[in-house]
């Protein structure tokens, strides 16, 4: 039960934050005439957040071997989350723009935390697998 909660709850919470933060407090820059790179990064991050949240919910109902796979997927999604605002899509170039000052670091922190928690969950579940 402990491993199951560890494999699912962080992904649910972090996925929710990743989905909600870019649409609320860590939003993209506003007031552009045309949507800029930060707008597309914001939308992509929300989508990735929803996927991580879904992985967390599914992890509540499956065995430990499948949970390992789900957490590997969560790590892959977190890497994608880091790549989107940094080099796949990017954010505004001005150092003092809101997307660069708030959205980018928020997504980086949430991405790193998702990877760390998913890594620990994989370790815990793989120990259970090894014990049989």
């Amino acid at each position: 039960m402990k491993n199951k909660l560890f494999a699912s709850v962080p992904n649910i919470l972090l996925g929710l934050l990743i989905a909600v933060a870019p649409q609320t407090f860590a939003h993209a820059c506003i007031g552009h005439d045309m949507p800029g790179a930060c707008h597309y990064s914001q939308q992509a991050a929300t989508g990735i957040g929803v996927v991580i949240l879904a992985l967390g919910v599914v992890a509540l109902f499956v065995n430990h071997q499948i949970r390992i796979g789900l957490n590997i997927a969560a790590i892959a999604n977190a890497l994608l989350l880091l790549a989107v605002p940094t080099f796949l899509i990017g954010v505004c170039k001005g150092a003092m723009m809101h997307c660069r000052m708030v959205m980018l670091p928020t997504l980086i922190v949430l991405g790193v935390l998702t990877m760390v928690f998913a890594g620990i969950a994989i370790w815990l579940d793989s120990r259970s697998t090894a014990r049989g």
Binding site: C29, H32, D33, M34, G36, A37, C38, C92, K93, G94, A95, M96, M97, R100, M101, V102, L104, P105, I108, V109, V112, L113
Partner: protein, 405 residues
């Protein structure tokens, strides 16, 4: 298959078999290292920013147009870009005042937020030959001559891949980009005095400021003054005011005063930080000692059994020290990691919110601080375990084992 527990692996097994105690100790050490590393990094970054600001505010006095003193002060700290000016004839008269050792003119023009996602820049026109505030800093990073029409960009300025900046619908070549200073100069571009009329012309055309366009050849925003030895800035300001009946209305900014005010705010913040970190550490150490002390009774029989099995006192001490090193080092690593996640990515936001000069310290300082934090967190763990060792060293194993019979 059961793996045998060796004396070497015993500390790890001990920690694993008591997950709650281990988690409690780890949490405390993590909080201690997080506050220590976080607080120290913030203090270091604020001090680096202050030093950088002091180096950039090399003038004793700034004379600016009427009602623009506040804008000029904002420019020196972390304010928004602005445009203000008087004319060169006023500047020339100011320079003739008694008590001036060096004087140089600068022109400030605020750019428009031109293309999408660009922010406003402060354009600073300066005379490389006479400037004693910006030029020494620029010269430390750019050894060429700034030609007419060329620019030097601050650290935060977005220079396109072809080495230009688009301002007022025109691409300006950038010959150098300067290092971060943690001040508003990072969002500025620098041009020489001869380029100022071109910039004023295109700027006034875009902003439809006809008065500014008329004065394109003689617009000056400030006269920066270094006073002679034996004079103070206030006296020189008074001397300037006596030169012309219009001059008492001009704005007089004393960068030294701004530095002193900023320094006071910074010192107050650093003191609060130091008190906060000390209180957290005092509380943490008390809780840590309490946890270790409470675990002594619980572990007396465990260690007495080990003694009966042939373990020496030295071996027991080694087990306790290894346990505390494991907890101290892992808690330290987690704390430093968490603090890094909070401080480094949000560096710009912290600087903006504090409204104080904030400049990220160099990698050597960061690594040094992380190492000190790890050493301190491990040392605090060992210090806590000393109590256990001291308490265990007193009674004899047989008597301890008989306790509770």
């Amino acid at each position: 298959m059961h793996s045998a527990i060796t004396l070497r692996g015993l500390p790890y097994e001990n920690l694993k078999r008591k997950p709650l105690r281990t988690a409690a100790l780890l949490t405390i050490v993590t909080i201690l290292s997080l506050t220590f590393f976080g607080g120290t990094m913030l203090t270091m970054n604020l001090n680096t920013g202050m030093t950088s600001t002091e180096q950039r505010l090399g003038a004793d006095l700034m004379v600016v147009p009427q009602n623009t003193a506040q804008q000029a002060e904002a420019l020196l700290t972390n304010g928004s870009p602005s445009t203000f000016y008087f004319t060169t004839d006023i500047a020339d008269t100011i320079k003739s005042a008694d008590g001036i050792e060096q004087a140089s003119e600068q022109t400030y023009i605020s750019s428009l937020a031109a293309a999408c996602c660009d922010e406003k820049l402060q354009i600073i026109g300066f005379d490389p030959a006479s400037d004693f505030v910006i030029e020494p800093w620029i010269a430390s990073q750019f050894d060429g001559t700034l030609q007419d029409g060329q620019m030097i960009a601050g650290a935060n300025v977005d220079v396109s891949v072809d080495g230009t900046i688009e301002l007022y619908g025109r691409d300006w070549p950038v010959v150098a980009q300067l290092a971060n200073t943690g001040t508003s100069l990072d969002n500025s571009v620098f041009i020489n005095t001869a380029t100022v009329p071109q910039m004023v012309a295109v700027s006034s055309k875009m902003t439809k400021n006809s008065a500014f366009a008329k004065n394109a050849d003689k617009a000056v925003s400030t006269v920066l003054i270094k006073v002679k030895q034996g004079y103070d800035a206030q006296t020189v300001a008074d001397n300037i005011k006596h030169l012309d009946s219009r001059f008492p209305d001009l704005g007089y900014v004393y960068p030294g005063g701004i530095t002193a005010t900023t320094k006071n705010s910074l010192n107050a913040l650093i003191s609060y930080l130091a008190v906060f970190v000390s209180v957290i550490w005092a509380m943490g150490v008390i809780v840590l000692l309490a946890v270790f002390a409470s675990s002594v009774n619980e572990r007396k029989r465990e260690f007495a059994s080990l003694r009966i099995m042939g373990a020496t006192r030295g071996m027991l001490n080694a087990i306790i020290v290894k346990e505390s090193i494991m907890i101290g080092a892992s808690g330290g690593v987690v704390g430093v990691g968490l603090a890094s996640l909070m401080i480094f990515p949000f560096s710009s936001l912290i600087g903006t919110q504090l409204q104080l000069p904030y400049l990220q310290a160099g990698p050597i300082a960061i690594i040094g601080c992380a190492v000190v934090t790890l050493v301190c967190s491990t040392a605090i763990g060992i210090a806590g375990s000393m109590l256990t060792m001291w308490r265990l060293s007193k009674p004899e194993a047989y008597l301890t084992l008989r306790e509770g019979d």
